[in-house]
Amino acid sequence: MTFITVLITLLALSVVTYLVSLINNKLGAYFTIVTSLVTLLLLFLLKNSIGQLASISLFTFKLTTVGWYFSMVMVVVYFTSAFLNPFWMKKMIYPAAYNLFYLVSLIGTIGMFFARDFITLFIFWETVVWTSTFIIQMGKSRKSSYVYYVVSAIGSMVTLFAMMLVYQVSGTLEISVAFNALTGQPVLALIVFFTFLLAGLSKIGIFPFHVWLPMAHGSAPHTFSPVLSGGLVKMGAFIAYISVSAFAAYEAFSSSFTIMGIPAPIYIIMVLGAISIVVGTVMAIRQDDAKKLLAYSSVANGGYILIGILLFDQLAFAGGMLHLVSHAIASATAFITIAIVAHRTGTTKMSKLGGMIHKMPITYTVYLIAIISMAGIPPMGGFVSKWLILQGLADHGLLFIAAAAFFGSIGSFMYVFRPLSAVFLGQLAPKHENVKEASIMMQIPMYLLTIATLLIGVFPKIILKVIAGIQAEAGIQEIVMVGNTIVVANGVLDTFRVFVVFGYGFLIALVIFILRRKSRRVTLMDTYTSAEFVHTPELLHYSSNFYAPFERLTKKPYPVLNLYEKVSIKIKEIGHMAESLFSSPKPAVTIFWIIIVFAIFFLGGVL
């Protein structure tokens, strides 16, 4: 089976989905599940034909391990969040369009990951940006989709500039060859490196291009937020990968000033990654909206992925690539659980929720496992990837970046615990007395993703094998596994053992607990309140201003937002000025322009 067949099949299926949605949108939503499942299966089969070249009209593709890896992550996220689509059809303004865009953006990502030349890469990239812009617009606010589009457009245009620059120098558009022309031209290489990377940085939400992320993720339709955070953000990581593999940034800047063996341009980008870890973490801790909180956590985790990939070595690179998967899964799971809570209660504001565990125990458990992974606690997937990144950073001695990584990983305990406590634990408000657990259909993706998180955490070999393949393809040292143990220069990790010993400890504790006398069940309101009489559950629920001391400390975290605000006001003013000059109803203005044009015409003739 060729790649082109797959692509055309998917395109045909998405058109069918659109037509079906026009008749019955709920049935169309089920079609998105089926189509993404078909995509998953077809892609899985394509694994055997890696190395294949394909082309159709303008577009040329090459099946690579890394492309396969990225697109598998993407399709898993699309497939699992598609299960929510049928429940949100009623809330969409254009349900048929939503289903179509959902699938087209999926096809766009796949095409992009397998692109062989710049034009294919760019066109498929833009397809994803456009379709997702329209989807985000169907959510809570229009402004967020504008911001998303503007940031994405700036990124893509600058990257297009880099592509054209490379084309001018090399005369070819093929990604793997074109960059070779830059050897021996350090200044040009520097320009291309920063401009080419910009689309990736803006997509993965690296500081200072992260502003769109919380807005778009926070206000996108609840069904699309898992895709945005778990999937589309990872497209930026792919650009980062190209910049170190095909572009070979380490060789291009080998003569430049180095910091701990890292060339300065790459180090600068890594520092941006470190800053986004800190900014994302601090802002996530301060959020009250659960979706915005998770969006900021994506900013922070994007920083980890970027740092890992840019280090491009045996250890941290494997960590970054694994973090891509573990974060994609954990974040998609967390967004799905929040989406379900929002579906049942109608809000994502943490201060308005509470005690959901008593109504939705399964959703709670799933969220718990997702955040254990997101915070990088064993025995879940996130731990393995963070461990690899931290060991890699220690290997290089990158102190400041490691400091940011530590801040991000301890800070993640804080921000993941906030929704756990404020949404699921604590007092149940009386108005939520009749809230129901997620339906079976919604539970399916939660089970799938939870199993995946656990599997990666206990047997990371499954993923690390593929990553070793990518490392071989890129020509760097492969990650070594002996049995279940990851063996690196400065440490070993056997996650299966960690899991078993944790189970052992849990078992001992459980036995002691069961052997002791059974405890008496009391209600939630039956608590110690220091002799106060409180009869309203809402008043006993501690959820707003959760980290008050920390919020006091970080009142003015960073001035970038203000700067953007000012710039956008100035641009608007200039726009208004231009508008008043050209489209004024006053005849005087029109005559003024006519005179100017004639003057230029005649003067131009004379000169």
Partner: protein, 306 residues
């Protein structure tokens, strides 16, 4: 992994619990003498724990119970991985990141159970405890990072072994004095000793996370606290004070370190939580970074004592 590993693990657990509880009992007496009291008997802590386990208790729902079990389970697993004087129940599992992150699952369990009780005091306590953790852990992790870079291993027992055989001069706390200071201060934060004890502040937020516990739950919390203390003191002892070449040396050093922390904390006032964060980011963090730069760029303290 054989059955013997699990048996050794259980022995470490039991020994750690008995040892630390005895030390705690002894330290209750030390505290009392500082406050000019007579103090309870040295085995009072055992009596308290077993009494709590025997009493009846209340529960606020399944998460209240589950969290307690998960907390103790996670902490027990961490204790099993702690190398004591070169002895490890599971060889090669004493990676410092595994220990410090596995510890977190115990803390998460405890926080979950406390918040699950529905008592606002508990949630406030948890939020303070997490903020406190953000304060002390970053300077400490930077120093540990420096150690890993310097010795090219993340294994706690290997780092401990490298410090032995040179007497007191071999200790990392002496070789890297700023790092030693950071670790010692961070130990106060980890143990929740004054001046960093505002998350349990009994007079202010009714003991914070512990407010709703009684009976066997409280007994669990006591055991958990003893084991957690064992993990934290052992970690600092192994990484910065040379561990111990034999069990006896280890136990003596351990007792001295813990008692010293306790004595100092008794004469300290209490920081508000944001003051604690400010303090840790002003002094220990700067020390840690200076220490890191000195080790990474100058190489001082790695092999200077020969």
């Amino acid at each position: 992994m054989t059955v013997m590993n699990f048996v050794y693990g259980f022995i470490i657990l039991l020994a750690a619990f008995i040892f630390q509880t005895t030390i705690t009992g002894f330290n209750r007496k030390v505290t009392a003498r500082i406050q000019k009291r007579y103090g309870p008997r040295w085995y009072q802590q055992f009596l308290d724990i077993f009494k709590a386990l025997r009493k009846s208790s209340i529960t606020h729902g399944w998460i209240f119970d589950f969290g307690v079990i998960m907390a103790l389970g996670g902490i027990m697993a961490t204790v099993i991985f702690i190398p004591v004087a070169g002895f490890e129940a599971f060889p090669n599992m004493d990676n410092v990141y595994i220990i410090s992150y596995l510890l977190a699952i115990g803390m998460l369990g405890m926080a979950m159970s406390a918040a699950g009780s529905g008592n606002p005091w508990a949630s406030i306590g948890v939020s303070r405890a997490l903020t406190n953790m953000l304060a002390y852990d970053i300077p400490l992790m930077i120093v540990i990072f420096t150690l890993i870079f310097a010795f090219d291993t993340a294994s706690v027992s290997e780092i401990a072994a490298m410090q032995q055989g040179m007497g007191i001069l071999g200790w990392n706390a002496i070789r890297m004095p700023l790092g030693g200071i950071v670790a010692f201060i961070a130990l106060f934060g980890m143990l929740g000793k004054k001046p960093f004890d505002s998350f349990i502040a009994p007079a202010e937020i009714a003991s914070g996370p512990m407010v709703e516990y009684g009976g066997k739950h409280l007994g669990f919390m006591f055991i958990l606290h003893e084991l957690m203390t064992f993990i934290e003191v052992s970690l600092i002892l192994n990484l910065f004070f040379g561990g111990g070449s034999s069990i006896l040396v280890y136990a003596i050093k351990y007792a001295i370190l813990y008692t010293l922390v306790n004595i100092i904390s008794q004469v300290m006032p209490r920081y508000k939580i944001d003051q604690a964060v400010k303090f840790f980011y002003r002094v220990p963090l700067v020390f840690a970074i200076i220490q890191g730069l000195v080790v990474i760029f100058l190489g001082w303290g790695v092999s200077v004592w020969f």
